[in-house]
């Protein structure tokens, strides 16, 4: 499913290394499925008409789903290294609508060799290269 090249150990983590891009077509069905799995029944997450009644341009994906996709990008990168994501922060800048190709991306931005941890920048881009969701995460490798 994922084309992300996984990291094997902390010693190979390099500042500036790219994670992704991982392009994906986000379908309305997948968005609805996420909303269902999380018990989110607000119309804005399930149908265009209901979303428009709330003043939105159409169905949007839940913020938590963006957080979930970015967390998955990090855990795919962690792979079987035994590392753990210990923190993630997200900011929702632009509404993410399904039925578009989005791209999940990241950069390793800093390392803490003594703690065997690193910081990662994360974002979700739309087809125009605009960052709709941004975030950062901290990954802890085994000591």
């Amino acid at each position: 499913m994922s084309d992300i090249v996984a990291i094997d150990r902390f010693e190979n983590v390099q500042i500036g290394a790219a994670i992704g891009p991982e392009p994906m077509f986000l379908s309305k069905e997948q968005s609805r499925r996420y909303a269902r799995a999380c018990g989110l029944d607000a119309p804005r997450f399930t149908d265009d008409e209901g979303a428009r009644k709330e003043g939105l341009p159409g169905m949007i994906i839940p913020g938590n789903m963006s957080l979930g996709l970015l967390t998955k990008l990090v855990t795919d990168w962690i792979g079987q290294s035994g590392a753990r994501i210990v923190r993630i922060g997200t900011t929702y800048r632009v509404l993410v609508q399904p039925d578009h190709t989005i791209s999940l991306q990241g950069f390793v931005t800093h390392t803490y060799p003594e703690e065997r941890a690193c910081e990662i920048d994360l974002w979700i881009e739309n087809e125009d290269g605009e960052r709709m969701v941004t975030g950062t995460a901290t990954v802890q490798f085994p000591k």
Binding site: F25, S27, Q30, S103, F107, T109, T134
Partner: protein, 231 residues
């Protein structure tokens, strides 16, 4: 000797950024080829981070760290350079409705310079306010190139600058480590302190510079049928 500074950036001292100053400096140091910056200016949101001392980091990385602030006014967001006790006593930086004309005049009188930023941005930029209200007086410079702009916003800023003859700056508006320095300002003169910066912004020669990489072509993903997600 020319000086290149990113005039607009946010560290973890701002509520919406998680970027440590040290990570910014290390990032620039490792990418000097692409980011030939002499320094960055931290413009934390709605506050004067006067107590922060970055001298040890400046020495460690050989990159200058200057401090300013980004405040919010009735004409949008404004960068305040040369913040001092007089200015912080006169204006409450946490107030999101500061009077822009007073800010521009008083900051200049007290030895600083107020530079409206991202003027092409809806609601928080000069362009939209100029459509409804008289233009501000005594504006010296505004930000033409902002790294956080959405489509068309920097272009609107450029039109405003051409119309009013303002000097033009650039800054990344970075909230993430990997975005630092991608937009900056090149000054003809050497700048070594915040006083130098204010002097040059008022009377010197400078222009925005763009270090953003050309965007690589991202392959389009094919639609995937819902059922294939199973298993």
């Amino acid at each position: 000797m020319p000086t290149i500074l990113d005039l607009h950036s946010h560290s973890e001292a701002s509520e919406d950024s998680r970027a440590p100053v040290e990570a910014y400096l290390n990032w620039i140091k490792l990418r000097r080829q692409q980011l030939p910056l002499d320094g960055i200016v931290l413009t934390e949101h709605r506050q004067w981070n006067g107590g922060a001392d970055y001298r040890a980091l400046e020495d460690k990385y050989g990159i200058m760290v200057l401090k300013a602030a980004e405040v919010e006014t009735d004409y949008g967001h404004v960068l305040v350079f040369g913040v001092n006790d007089d200015i912080t006593a006169r204006f409450d930086f946490a107030n999101v409705r500061l009077p822009a004309q007073e800010l521009i005049d008083e900051v200049a009188r007290m030895g600083g310079l107020a530079v409206p930023c991202h003027p092409g941005r809806p609601n928080v930029g000069l362009v939209e306010h100029y459509e409804r209200k008289p233009a501000l007086e005594n504006v010296v410079a505004v930000e033409r190139l902002n790294g956080g702009s959405r489509k068309g916003e920097n272009e609107r800023s450029a039109e405003l600058i051409a119309r009013f003859g303002y000097k033009a700056t650039g800054g990344s508006d970075s909230h993430l480590v990997s975005l630092i320095g991608l937009c900056a300002t090149r000054f003809e003169a050497a700048i070594r302190s915040i006083d130098d910066l204010v002097r040059e912004l008022k009377g010197g020669h400078y222009e925005p510079v763009d270090f953003r990489p050309r965007r690589p072509e991202v392959r389009r993903a094919e639609p995937v049928e819902a059922s294939s997600h199973r298993g």
